[in-house]
Symmetry: C2
Subunit: 350 residues, 2 copies
């Protein structure tokens, strides 16, 4: 029997557009392999929210954006603040793929809190609410017997969070280094080739990989956000994002890159975490050997190297020039969520 | 409340010795974090089997092997064929870490079948029963409402099987290339340095990384076994291990290695799978670029590169000079198994 999952999409940018396209392609497979059907009962973009208890068509929403339409133009539009969506429609699952907005009082976090209070499960591609209120959201989810998943927030389709949380069980010590922002990695590579920072950033935005505000990529903030979420996924880290020492790539000069090259090295924006008495967390341009694992993460690649007491060294990287991998990671979390919560019968009521 | 899991260890070699040492180190953590305690109610080595309903001490079993003792010397020894163990003690979980024996009628497979028929869950580090009877074992597990897990059979602690099964959901196309045998990778590197094949194999056995029969490593059979288990973890592959074209590293010459080096390449024992009309599977010495991902898997590293329709390219590798990572992977599966089956209340009866 196919379970209908009433789903709300927050954000209709690259990630949720990609998700809708995968849902169109794989609708049958999702039904036959996982006994699931996702019914889009609500959508939100910057213009507002619309609801439809019977479900918007996937194609309808793809076409809306393809034609540069907005949510406030479609049937079902409700002229209320979007954080009220949980009071305007019944749903089981919310996908937050809105642009990262780190303003402490941004309405996006309140929207998530309202949804959790209704027992909705949340899948995040947007890091902002997690960075602003990780502990609060976890507590709310627990109180309302629901869950949050966020494997798409770090390195797109590369299952960094999943591997760390699920596969490296019982480790007592860990240190890690990673490249978590493909845009700044691409920009640094363009600089290596003699290119110009502004042009490289525009190219990254053109293909949809850069955050809508490129400052987040270049300043190291996006990398710091990801490092923070990785760290929060371990039980014994209770620090704050401001505990991460942060320096962006703005001041990396062509001369510094040339000097590194002469030493068979590269400059990469590296996130690092190690424990010595307490956690030492940093994001900064770092000179690393060309033939090291992170030195071999080129252009649109992101990667992570983890050393633990039990598993020695594990490294993983992905190549993702297209946000499709992130959309696929959202769908992976949606399916995992249904299987995790389905057993407790708090999800999938329809 | 701590659940006591009655556990049988098959094999007391490097992997289960490593497991016992981790159990000693992390006993408290396993209890507090996972509410579990593993009680070793049965052990099997080449000399026979012994049972103890109250549980053998972890240290007792480590010391037994440290002192070169055998199971037929300890209290609880039962002079019966070891495949009868499921009739000699009540248990919830069996860990098969015995040496790989691919003789079709080897008693190890019957032992597993008997255990599944009693509803025991099985965690494998030994690939042989899976390679010989994958479909039968899955069917038996289903019939008796239990499960098998085998993440430790491929690349030790690197969660290759877990990532492919759990994280790359809904992919429609996949091709992969990997280095799955650290011993042959180490041997090839020694040859690059001008070393000798026999000496390199002896060194690999000394540190406990080589299979007890090094032919399995060198001939490509171990790599083929791993490729087969990876392929069986996808729903649409129903081929046989003999469908894998196989060539070992026995005939790799110093001249061929030198020639590759002159072209900025290396010779690696590469497993490959791609689908074109049907699956094309092979294990053979392959010339690959030095600066490619697999070209950078050196010595004791193993790695995998996967290309799919949804996730573009994902690569992962590990460095594991010690079998501890494999032992930790067994323990990861033991804990996952308890959480998966615990919910169905077929496991953990005590």
């Amino acid at each position: 029997m196919i379970k209908k999952v009433r789903t709300v999409l927050v954000g209709l940018g690259n990630v949720n557009q990609g998700l809708l396209k995968i849902l169109i392609d794989k609708e049958k497979e999702i039904a036959t392999k996982h006994d699931l059907q996702f019914i889009i009962v609500g959508v939100i973009d910057s213009s507002g929210m619309a609801v439809n208890e019977k479900g918007f068509g996937y194609e309808e929403l793809v076409n809306l954006k393809f034609n540069k339409g907005k949510v406030n133009e479609i049937t079902g539009f409700i002229p209320k603040p979007t954080e009220e969506i949980a009071h305007c429609v019944e749903a089981d699952l919310l996908i937050d793929a809105s642009p990262v907005n780190l303003t402490p009082k941004n309405p996006g976090t309140q929207l998530i809190k309202n949804a959790l209070a209704k027992g909705w499960a949340i899948v995040f591609a947007n890091k902002a609410p997690l960075v602003l209120a990780f502990n609060d959201l976890c507590k709310l989810a627990k109180e309302h017997k629901t869950k949050i998943l966020y494997s798409a927030t770090v390195c797109g389709g590369l299952p960094v969070i999943n591997v760390l949380k699920r596969d490296l069980k019982l480790i007592s010590s860990i240190s890690l280094q990673g490249i978590f922002n493909a845009t700044s990695n691409f920009v640094l590579e363009e600089l290596e080739k003699g290119g110009n920072m502004d042009e490289a950033i525009r190219e990254a935005q053109r293909i949809g990989a850069a955050e809508s505000d490129p400052t987040l990529d270049i300043s190291g903030q996006d990398t710091a956000n990801k490092l923070y979420l990785i760290m929060k996924s371990f039980a014994d880290f209770d620090g704050l994002i401001k505990d991460i020492e942060m320096e962006g790539i703005e001041k990396v000069t062509p001369e510094a890159i040339k000097e590194a090259e002469q030493n068979n090295s590269k400059i990469k924006l590296v996130a690092s975490a190690y424990h010595k008495g307490s956690w030492h967390l940093s994001v900064k341009p770092t000179v690393i050997a060309k033939d090291s694992f992170l030195g071999s993460c080129n252009g649109w690649e992101m990667g992570l190297e983890v050393k633990t007491d039990l598993y020695e060294s594990i490294s993983m990287k992905n190549y993702e020039a297209d946000p499709k991998g992130t959309s696929a990671a959202v769908l992976r979390d949606m399916i995992d969520m249904c299987s995790q919560l389905g057993k407790q019968a708090t999800l999938v009521k329809a």
